[in-house]
């Protein structure tokens, strides 16, 4: 008998008893729908900021290049920006910003500034949601020193439950995205004392541009 069969047999043998161990629960409530108050974007921004992300509210997506240049200048991040393969961002008018040097290359291991789009944001936890694809390789979210994320106002969802529902709709009949990443602020560690120190293995800065 293989270990697979042995383990499954043991589980099945315990099953009648296993069921007996379960105490009746009035309402399992397995689809909890916490509904936060009206202003989803406001709530998201507040929580993201509380988790040490920075947020800049813009008008249209066309304002992104200038906002990026401004941010990088303010933070002293140099002039190298990695756009990644995403055409949504690549097609913006980066030329007009003379001070920026943009490339499509993967981020340098020593850390760069990367800009990406995202799939959604979750208001009740301050999380950005990014989904991997050929346009958005997962390591773009983790290798750079600074991660700039463009979020559309209409991408903000109330909670996990709405996120799951939307993913199910968008990926119906297709395989699930290889990586779905929920990101709350910059990388940090609690292993060097309290409070946690920012900038562990992932980006030390997360900057969100709301368009």
């Amino acid at each position: 008998m293989t270990s697979r069969d042995a383990i499954l047999t043991k589980i099945r043998n315990a099953r009648s008893n296993a069921a007996a161990q379960i105490k009746p629960a009035d309402d399992v409530g397995i689809h909890p729908q916490a509904t936060p108050a009206g202003d989803l974007l406001g709530q998201f921004i507040e929580l993201a900021r509380a988790e040490v992300a920075t947020v800049d509210e813009l008008g249209t997506v066309a304002e992104v290049p200038a906002a990026v240049a401004r941010y990088m200048e303010e933070q002293g991040l140099g002039n190298q920006l990695v756009l990644g393969p995403d055409p949504q961002l690549g097609d913006l008018d980066w030329q007009s910003i003379a001070s920026l040097k943009c490339s499509q290359e993967s981020p340098h291991p020593d850390g760069d500034t990367v800009i990406t789009a995202c799939y959604a944001a979750v208001a009740d936890s301050g999380a950005l949601v990014v989904v991997s694809s050929p346009d958005h390789p997962v390591e773009l979210n983790f290798l750079p020193a600074n991660h700039i994320v463009v979020l559309r106002r209409d991408q903000v969802l109330e909670d996990f439950e709405r996120l799951w529902t939307q993913l199910r709709q968008d990926y119906a009949g297709k395989p699930w995205p290889r990586c779905i990443n929920l990101i709350v602020g910059p990388s940090r560690t609690a292993d060097l004392g309290f409070p946690p120190k920012m900038g562990a293995h992932g980006p030390g800065r997360v900057h969100i541009l709301v368009v």
Binding site: S3, K10, A14, H31, S133, V138, W164, T189, A200, G202
Partner: protein, 475 residues
Amino acid sequence: MQTTSLKFRQLASQALADETLRTALGDVERIMPVIRNSALDQLENPEAWFDRASASRDRTLAELDVYLEAFEQKVQQLGGHVHWAADGTEACEIIAGICETAGARTVTKSKSMVTEEIELNAFLESRDMTVVETDLGEYIIQLRGERPSHILAPALHVTLSEVAETFHRHHDLERAAPLREPTEMLLEARAVLRDRFLSADVGITGANFLVAETGGVVIVTNEGNADLTASLPDTHIVVTGIEKVVPTLEDAGLMLRLLARSAAGQRLSTYTTLIHGPRRAEDSSGPSNFHVVLLDNGRSDMLGTQLQEMLRCIRCSACINHCPVYTAVGGHAYGSVYSGPMGAVLTPGLAGLHAAAHLPNASTFCGRCEEVCPVRIPIPKMLRYWRDREFERRMTPRSVRYGLDWWTHMNASPRIYRSLLGIAARLLRGLSSRGWITRLPGPGRAWTRYRDMPTPAGQTFQHQWRRTRGRAGES
């Protein structure tokens, strides 16, 4: 699973004498309950969430085979492989086999208690592989050759100056300026581990949850090390226990709401990642090989028994952070990779009661663990279950067994009990000076080693009652 739990008494005494450990544990005790409470307060009615979460776990455990098979099927459809390991040795063999097929020389790992449980690092090293832990705390203790002292903060016991000293010694920094600030240490570790991430052949991670609905593996970190471990090498191996499966994304969301709050007072950890299989044909990066190793190692034996509820555990460590015994002696005293209240229940289940005999006894039954557990595991009840087994198997020290037996007999008749208490009161008064006893003989010595005992104030209550209120008061 190796334990040194039988040396609990001795290890605990050593730990009590360690002043730096005391400071670290003092921080846990002071900070964790505060940040946990405020994070849970963000949820409307956290107790209702606890109810839902424990019901969800119970529902899963009642049909564990169904969800495991569903998960397996989904992973296979996504192009991944699922392996089943009955015990730690089998799991290690499977993992080493995958690594060898991949021609692995360097393996990166993100923190995983299951791999600690099966002692994977030593196994892979014995097969000539270099294993690099990438969680900062885990990396620190790996360099120091130590074991984790907390399931989520493995290097809790290491001070900052010890971290600096460890990096100096192992990073060839002998001539460099000393690392003083935590941020300098962080940058140093980040730089060294960056190279490791990029050069690794295989990445090994644990899993916080497995989602049966989608075949997804949920991994949660604050550092981002699990994501780099999982996405940069060409092979990703997930090693986890069979109980980690949840039916749907809603169940996962439910657990995630409680996990980060209970663990670290966060709404959500910095990185919550759901991974579905290996890289796709159209992807430019990501591992080509994706394996999930499902470990039993004693878990299925708990199903259908009074220990089943322990399998609800989501490893949040709230019970540990709130335990008066843990915060007095720290994790190493438990002599097991799982420490604190959850460890005291799990370790005998995984390593055998004989290897862990002290652990179920090293509790005051204060019940705070059960109170804070987000999946409502009745830990004191389970510690009692183990104490019952110890008594049954005559593992309880003979003096205790005889003592209890004698006590039962003395209580068989209220008259005997009353006169026994009367005698005890007289004897204790004989040892007393000015109302207090500072030294007791026999088993009482353990009491007066640290504290005094008040002298019984006059005759026993029952004696006085019978004398003053006489028959009127008796039934």
